[in-house]
Symmetry: C3
Subunit: 351 residues, 3 copies
Amino acid sequence: MKGFYDLSELTRHDIERVVARALSLRNGSKTRRFEGKAVGLLFFNPSLRTQASFQRASQKLGLEFVQLQSGGNGVWGIEVDDGAVMDAGNAEHVREAAAVLGRFVDVLCIRSFAGGSSLERDLTDPLVNGFRRFAGVPIVNMESALWHPCQALADWTTLEQFEVPRRAKFVLTWAWHPKALPHAVPNSTLCMAAQRGMDVVVLRPRGYDLHPTAIGQAYELAALNGGSLEITDDREQALRGAKIVYAKSWASLETYGNAAQEAELRAPLRDWCVTPEWLARTDDARFMHCLPVRRNVVVSDAVLDGPASIVIDQAENRLHAQTALLENVFASLEQKPKARANARQPLEIER
Amino acid sequence: MKGFYDLSELTRHDIERVVARALSLRNGSKTRRFEGKAVGLLFFNPSLRTQASFQRASQKLGLEFVQLQSGGNGVWGIEVDDGAVMDAGNAEHVREAAAVLGRFVDVLCIRSFAGGSSLERDLTDPLVNGFRRFAGVPIVNMESALWHPCQALADWTTLEQFEVPRRAKFVLTWAWHPKALPHAVPNSTLCMAAQRGMDVVVLRPRGYDLHPTAIGQAYELAALNGGSLEITDDREQALRGAKIVYAKSWASLETYGNAAQEAELRAPLRDWCVTPEWLARTDDARFMHCLPVRRNVVVSDAVLDGPASIVIDQAENRLHAQTALLENVFASLEQKPKARANARQPLEIER
Amino acid sequence: MKGFYDLSELTRHDIERVVARALSLRNGSKTRRFEGKAVGLLFFNPSLRTQASFQRASQKLGLEFVQLQSGGNGVWGIEVDDGAVMDAGNAEHVREAAAVLGRFVDVLCIRSFAGGSSLERDLTDPLVNGFRRFAGVPIVNMESALWHPCQALADWTTLEQFEVPRRAKFVLTWAWHPKALPHAVPNSTLCMAAQRGMDVVVLRPRGYDLHPTAIGQAYELAALNGGSLEITDDREQALRGAKIVYAKSWASLETYGNAAQEAELRAPLRDWCVTPEWLARTDDARFMHCLPVRRNVVVSDAVLDGPASIVIDQAENRLHAQTALLENVFASLEQKPKARANARQPLEIER
């Protein structure tokens, strides 16, 4: 793999190989060691699982690693617009930040959430795509404005671990939350389940559709892989026969960037919290969530602490899936060693 | 050792073994190496010595390590209350944070100071105890609301290094400070000296007693180990014959959480600053402090820069004591390997 | 080398050896490995290149490393004044911070910018000099109030990489910027070019002279090494025949610490932005900048993205130059092993 931006870059076959490797690592297989190679971890947003699991994965692979955070005394504010006259807050352009870090490490992993104010801008995934354009080394997406492919890879691993049948019913349900959250996780969850060939249902209240791009991609992946996709606000019908209930909150696209309107829109929706009553309507479904999760808001204690919940294994699989991923990315580097030149190299988007 | 929450979990004999090992490491002994094992370092508060010494100790032991900080772009705000409806600031519950990190590393070290607003709450040591309940791996306390056992272990090491006799007089004195500080260090200092069997004197102005729990534990430990404990505000008498003067400021329990009342209470106490005149009344006492220390507020330059001060060795011993501690904790893991299971495991408080 | 505060501590011959080693590392030479040795990286200010390159350099050398940041939940605020009564914001004195960290690592690297409010104070370079006085181990300056010698070392390496003749014309030009920036980089750039024996021109508007100390040192170094130094505001004449245009913004010393006056002084100077027209007047000059750089403010896109720009190689050389530097510093330690003593050691300024 020459980087990892979005799960759908890979064929189902490729994904299955990485997932199988992740499960093998989970069961104690040894990793390859890439002595003298280095990975960069660059965080523009908070993170518990992602930081911890990427740090550990790097070390398991024998990699040197560089970690940087934005904010405070971390890295400088990064400008992404071409042609910007940089006389305001941002001190560094992504063109330089990316190109320089690409000289210090062999693979660069970036976390940068959606800004949440301009949908048009967030749909361009500006920061991660900026790094992809200018770093000159493979980029791994640790959650961008649009996608969280490492989460999706871990989720797929978790579905295999629990032997969830390929054609099982997978319900991605919206949940109430005090904040308008990014779409990266639901976009990736939706497409992951569709690409696995599952019978996917998106359960959400009116006004909370995912973006047509993600929906469209999910329909295509479902068709290609023998699954199906349905979008509904009928909770009863959605949950009937479900094998997986995957909860996640996300912002309304109709009120994007307008916190007051969004708050009004979701005010009547506090009962969108997964409780044992929800699970009782399913076919013994397991409960999944990417974490962090707000207890008794997104899901009740009784569900999280009950036998249906597999969220901790799901989180653990971040480590194994990402170790398998980085192992694959670094192995690919060996086939085509990083070019060395005195002058700047032509830039290309790495995939 | 299956974790390390409070020094008094260990017998004096156990402590002496760890201290002897710390001194041996100080003198250049090689550490064991735990290849492929990992420690997590999680900081909810500022730290110089603790961060630096735990990072270094981890590396000396050949451990992989994961470091996380709260605040800014670090980890999410953590909720600790059972049954909380998480619709306010905290994005993640300690149940998940602990369980997930416990899957990524073999031992987890936590720093989390007292909140300082509710005494009742601080006495439950909520965050560190939350991690102990839910992590499923040994927890090392890098300073909690109630205890700073790594400091105590380093202090005991320092007393041995300077060959301070077991029955020597050990004075823990309160000092003025512009802020109302937590009780973790004085609680642990008091109990450490009592457990070593020293003649312990707590010198403090009226209104600045330590909590009855810590005092009670110290009396028990003194009785068990052949020492004594006295609490006084008579400076002259306290210092007479002292071999150690250990300064530390702490908040009044009488005005806990009320900054204005506390400021008023301590306003007349600025002469509680250790000067050469204090030391002149002792039996050639050495001066100790956990650092950071406010010069010419808690202790005068003349004391800190004079021959009585052993604060730098005391701080250096943080490294050696913690290296010995982690070596012991990781060695214990080998006797009972971490269980692997697909489903969640029953949680237990690790000690 | 017993530490590295300022490039001029070294003879040109010494620098040339380190630079040659840097270029050899750039071309793939293996580093020495210092197993069991440790370096501390302490950051009081934001950083992208410095953090990433020092982390990577440390790992390439097989060093254990401790990284600390100030602010937030990082290290405590540090007091530097002798005799201070520390009853305000700073919780720790540099005397303790330095001495303690000097016990945990073998070499300590510090980044601490100028405060920018008191010129008199900044000229004493208080924090880095505090660490040099009290750490008891070699200090490496990762940019202080006055100097950025690692940048200068990387710049010299870059000049060799591009085979810029020794007597070539080197123009250090001031540029407009929305903020009043520190003098560390221009001071070090100026003295580096002078010490290399180049024909150095400082091009700046009236009111933007560098400090007499740096200017004086540069004149001496130029004389000693067969070069020359000229200071002018005549752009046409400065650029004529130039082989290097090195842009950098810095604060006026005349309005130091007064943001409003400074803003007024520089308001009419927005055309101090390096464009292709500037380069057209040179002798095919290459463009250099230490980064981060504000596009279309300090330099136009057309220059940065054009063939004249060597800023990415310049940044990459930070890694190689610092790897060579640390290799040298750690090799020096082997000749005179760090003393071990129970009591505190006499303090000395390490060079």
